[in-house]
């Protein structure tokens, strides 16, 4: 790595300008400029998102879809405008296909309970992969207890790759659903979801993609993917916490019973019978996270102001640099070396436990995630209790990658 390379971002992308739009990036931590490399856990918010939420709270808050008064109508209009932004963001066919949920976890649970549970018979199979986040394992284990389905796990190789052929080989006559990550949160592996979805559709198998780690790093087009469900969270794509989206193909959502009962999901209630509301409200019982949805809409609009091709190219350059720089750290082993990766490096360092590394890096202002990343089967596969993970956003710089490597080197020396 030479100095000239360190001084520049990927061509055509003005990182400094982007960084100015994220106020927290001006912070110092323990006297050092913040180096925020925990975007895989939660990314930071741009001013546009903070202001949108603030403006709503100050000037437009009321309950949505209920009042005839001005504030309620303003709140409803802002809330629904956010939904419209999301239609464009993932290229859904219509706003009926965008269900607001608390996040990816709730989206997957919704599909398990509202789509799979009424339909699946004992012995039916749900196919997942070895690298899934716990949020795409546990809901199916709960479903297994409830219905007697089988959970089938597609293998991962020692680079952390999932091979489409091996997944397809597990698609059998009883397979009802393929549920898999688009991008692995623990390893960064990009899965061959397009091919997997096509193979599933040929066999009449429904598909659910956990896109939590994909939407911040790549364009997602649900029509091109042709999946039945796609789930993601706002807070990993520069929006607020507690809000996310379940995309569902309209025809599939129509056939599903509601997820929870309450307000907003009904048209009429008597003690004899309830008439459910139309899509997407059928799945949005109770007063929603209005400010969260508005913040998410603002995050989508913010992304629309960037040259996303250049931003994503910059992220690929960050990843390449991180892999190159970390390869030079003695005793450092990358966990997850798939040919196609997005946005993160997971690693262990000989003689330095990840948690000690996390504490030491924090002293230098560097925020990384340490632990099992809610993917304990992945940790077990690689024979480690935990890893350190640096995960990137387009506002990170080459200099920050070099600071990361230098700080790891200091930790290594402390424990040598």
């Amino acid at each position: 790595m030479n100095g000239a390379a360190a001084a520049h971002a990927a061509p055509g992308f003005d990182v400094a300008a982007v960084r100015r739009r994220f106020p927290v990036l001006a912070r110092t931590i323990h006297g050092h400029p913040l180096v925020y490399l925990d975007n895989g856990a939660s990314s930071q918010r741009p001013t546009a998102v903070i202001d949108a939420v603030n403006d709503y709270e100050r000037h437009h808050h009321a309950n949505v879809h209920r009042g005839v008064h001005t504030l309620s109508q303003e709140a409803s209009a802002l809330f629904e405008a956010a939904r419209d932004s999301l239609v464009g963001f993932i290229n859904a066919r219509s706003r009926h296909e965008i269900v607001f949920v608390r996040g990816t976890t709730e989206a997957i649970n919704l599909v398990a309970q509202s789509y799979a549970r009424p339909l699946f018979e004992p012995g039916d199979e749900v196919l997942i992969t070895h690298l899934e986040h716990h949020a795409n394992i546990v809901p199916w284990q709960l479903l297994r207890e409830q219905t007697g389905i089988k959970l089938v796990i597609a293998p991962m190789d020692t680079r952390g790759e999932i091979h489409a052929g091996q997944v397809e080989a597990l698609m059998g006559p009883r397979t009802r659903l393929l549920a898999c990550a688009h991008v692995s949160n623990a390893l960064g592996t990009v899965l061959p979801v397009r091919r997997l979805i096509a193979a599933a559709r040929e066999r009449g198998i429904a598909t659910l993609i956990d896109g939590a780690q994909a939407v911040p790093h790549m364009p997602v087009d649900v029509q091109a993917l042709d999946c039945d469900f796609y789930a993601f969270s706002a807070h990993k794509m520069f929006g607020p916490t507690g809000i996310g989206v379940l995309y569902g193909r309209e025809a599939v959502l129509e056939r599903m019973p509601p997820w929870q009962g309450g307000g907003d999901m009904i048209l009429a209630v008597s003690f004899a019978k309830t008439t459910y509301n139309r899509l997407p409200y059928k799945f949005e019982a109770g007063t929603p996270n209005i400010s969260g949805a508005i913040g998410l809409g603002a995050a989508v609009n913010f992304l629309g102001t960037l040259d996303l091709d250049a931003a994503h190219a910059h992220e690929r350059a960050l990843l390449a640099r991180a892999e190159a720089v970390l390869a030079d750290v003695p005793g450092l082993r990358l966990i997850g070396t798939a040919a196609e990766k997005a946005g993160l490096v997971s690693f262990v360092v000989d003689g330095v436990h990840p948690h000690d590394l996390g504490t030491i890096l924090d002293k230098d202002g560097i925020a990384i995630r340490t632990g099992h990343h809610c993917a304990m089967p992945v940790m077990e596969f690689f024979g480690v209790p935990a890893t350190a993970r640096a995960s990137f956003a387009f506002y990170n710089t080459f200099e920050e990658i070099d600071l990361l490597a230098a700080s790891i080197e200091r930790a290594r020396k402390l424990f040598a």
Partner: protein, 148 residues
């Protein structure tokens, strides 16, 4: 607060060369301690001589704080009675959570005082002590404790 207040030489040394590390057979109690958040995992085994801890050894995987704490603990409690071990546990607990806690009578265990500045790491240091408490409580049968 400097890093060296947390990672004191005693801690680095006990992490590098944990004392009383390895299996123990036969044992009167064998208890697994688990910190699910971090994946820290240790197995503590002890042999009693009446009310006294005659032998104590541990195995497992953990960060420097948890490994050093377990190593220091085994040295501190070997040969002690249950009541004495409990008194040390209470002393360490105060040391880890209370800024004004005295470190007299704790000997080398006082090296853990820097941990209290790092609330996320207190569990690392206390895991072995909770495991010991469980082992003393139920010597004779298998058990496990968790920090969550």
């Amino acid at each position: 607060m400097e890093l060296t207040d947390l990672y004191r030489d005693v801690i680095l040394d006990h992490n590098r060369k944990p004392r009383n590390f390895g299996p123990l057979a036969p044992a009167d109690a064998s208890v697994e301690g688990l910190n699910p958040l971090c994946g820290d995992r240790l197995t503590l085994r002890l042999r009693m001589d009446g009310d006294r801890i005659a032998e104590i050894r541990f195995e497992g995987q953990g960060c420097a704080i948890s490994t050093a704490s377990a190593s220091l603990m085994t040295e501190a409690v070997k040969g002690r009675t249950r009541a004495e071990a409990q008194a040390l546990f209470d002393g360490v607990h105060r040391l880890l959570t209370d800024d004004a806690a005295p470190s007299e009578g704790l000997g080398k265990l006082a090296a853990l005082s820097g941990v209290r500045e790092y609330p996320a790491r207190v569990k690392c240091a206390s895991l072995c002590w909770h495991t010991l408490a469980s082992a003393l409580h139920c010597s004779g049968r298998a058990a496990s404790v968790s920090t969550e």
